[in-house]
């Protein structure tokens, strides 16, 4: 694996499967009485969150602590540092503190890439969500969840039909999922009005549908994306009512889903807008489990990036031959 995890494109197919397999093993820790491993003892992991996100930050913090790493939380929101300057100065401070890994969430696409590129720091950079670009660990935990339920005996997700529904244009979760689930063999349909689809999406390896009814009965996974009400003011759709009627996962549509299908949502949800309360709480919903899986997946990422000798560019994880033990 590469030293940084900025985008799903940083992972080969084998890297992705390795992360899922490793997460599967680590998930068992959650069942054990003592949930700690000594693997990252002495390593310092910094949560560098320029954007509010209690959920993701806590998930990474739990993951790091279960591996016995030291965790430092740096919330730049609301600090006196002005926009733009803060990234470099913050990075230099973290380097001085000896951070082995920086988990960064930022509202600007490409901010983690700048951090990794500029060599202000020597540690690993993990993208916890940058603007509308990517959110790799979210896609990994989504893939993990899907594999666990729908392909437990398999390495990947070949043939799984996934519908990603909602504001694809502004969704970093959608972008990472299209890349990762596609890499793992899933068949993806994006469901959104044309105003909320990115330019050039016809060239992406996906199908497109302009309404949820078209795909609801056939999908193995229905992944709902959060729609922000502010998008109405930016003229992306005329009203909440119209959006919900065409793209919302409501009770009627819930009845049409396959009994084996999964209902997913990266959170936080707008109950009643893109997803009805009964859909969110249905038997098919794995929304709460996604959160749990997030910790195991993030533990796997931290272990594979930090658990060994510092990774050079292009270093590979070795096979587990016990030599001289």
């Amino acid at each position: 694996m590469k030293r940084h995890l900025l985008s799903i494109n940083d992972l080969t197919y084998d890297d992705a499967v390795l992360i899922l397999d490793t997460a599967a093993e680590l998930a068992k820790i959650s069942d054990a009485p003592v949930k700690k491993l000594p693997t990252l003892r002495g390593r310092t992991v910094v949560n560098l969150f320029f954007e509010d996100s209690t959920r993701t930050r806590i998930s990474f913090e739990a993951a790091a602590k279960r591996l016995s790493a030291d965790v430092i939380n740096f919330s730049a929101k609301g600090s006196s540092l002005s926009k733009g300057e803060s990234l470099k100065d913050t990075a230099l401070t973290l380097q001085a503190m000896g951070a082995d890994a920086v988990i960064i969430r930022h509202n600007a696409s490409g901010a983690p890439a700048r951090l990794a590129d500029q060599q202000w720091m020597t540690g690993s950079v993990i993208n916890a969500g940058d603007g509308t670009h990517e959110h790799p660990t979210q896609a990994l935990l989504d893939a993990f969840t899907i594999r666990k339920h729908l392909r437990p005996e398999n390495k990947d997700l070949t043939g799984v039909k996934v519908s990603i529904v909602g504001d694809v244009l502004h969704s970093r979760v959608a972008r990472s999922n299209v890349l990762l689930l596609g890499k793992l063999g899933a068949e993806i349909t994006l469901v959104a009005p044309p105003t909320l689809l990115p330019v050039g999406v016809e060239k992406w390896p996906v199908k497109i549908a302009f309404g949820l009814d078209a795909v609801i009965a056939d999908s193995d996974v229905v992944m709902m994306l959060r729609i922000q009400r502010e998008r109405m003011a930016e003229l992306f759709f005329p009203s909440e009512r119209e959006y919900s009627r065409q793209f919302g996962l409501n009770s009627d549509r819930l009845r049409k889903i396959k009994p084996t299908a999964l209902v997913m949502h990266p959170g936080p949800m707008n109950r009643g807008l893109e997803i009805s309360a009964d859909s969110a709480d249905s038997l098919q919903s794995v929304i709460v489990e996604q959160v749990t899986n997030g910790v195991s997946v993030r533990m796997a990422v931290l272990y594979l990036l930090l658990g060994g000798a510092p990774l050079a560019a292009g270093a590979n994880v070795e096979s587990n031959e016990k030599v001289g033990m």
Partner: protein
């Protein structure tokens, strides 16, 4: 390359170890047999099966991956994890029999003891190995040994098992 144990030798050694375990523990009441993957896991399955046959009842068994507890992690790239399967009921108040193929520096067993420590508090931990080749770097000893094979450091001991290598044998390579 010298063959020091053939299929028959291995089978007989494992049968003796099974009997010794039962004898030492005065029965099999509280036993949990855990193998250290990869080959230790196959051996532990065989030992557990043998004990089951002798005792006429099923014996709790599983595997214990020690990758995350190794003391040499920082020296190379991270290794993939192998399966850890702990039987229901855990290891609390049990007599754990750790099983591994080759006993060398003792560091694997040290890591296994740490791993067990995170899982609970057994009554006792005993160690069964197929081959003890000497050169301990830590003060750890085995309770049940298939065969003692003195080696020099430079020699390599290879254990092949039918489950994964297609046949049972123990080889020594690179005679000093």
């Amino acid at each position: 390359m010298t063959n020091v144990m053939n299929e028959g030798d291995i089978t007989r050694a494992l049968r003796r170890i099974a009997h010794e375990i039962i004898e030492r523990n005065r029965g099999s009441e509280n036993l949990v047999v855990l193998g250290i993957p990869t080959r230790g896991a196959f051996l532990s399955a065989r030992v557990a099966e043998l004990i089951s046959q002798i005792e006429g009842k099923s014996i709790r068994r599983g595997t214990l991956d020690i990758t995350m507890f190794r003391d040499d992690l920082r020296m190379r790239a991270p290794k993939p994890l192998l399966p850890t399967e702990i039987p229901p009921g855990g290891i609390e108040n049990t007599d754990v029999i750790l099983v591994d193929d080759v006993f060398f520096s003792g560091r694997t067993i040290r890591a296994a003891l740490d791993a067990l420590g995170e899982l609970g508090r057994p009554n006792s931990v005993q160690l069964a190995v197929l081959v003890d080749r000497g050169h301990r770097e830590l003060p750890i000893r085995a309770d049940f040994v298939g065969k003692n094979i003195p080696t020099s450091r430079e020699e390599i001991v290879k254990v092949h098992l039918a489950e994964i290598d297609g046949l049972d044998e123990v080889l020594i390579e690179g005679n000093a």
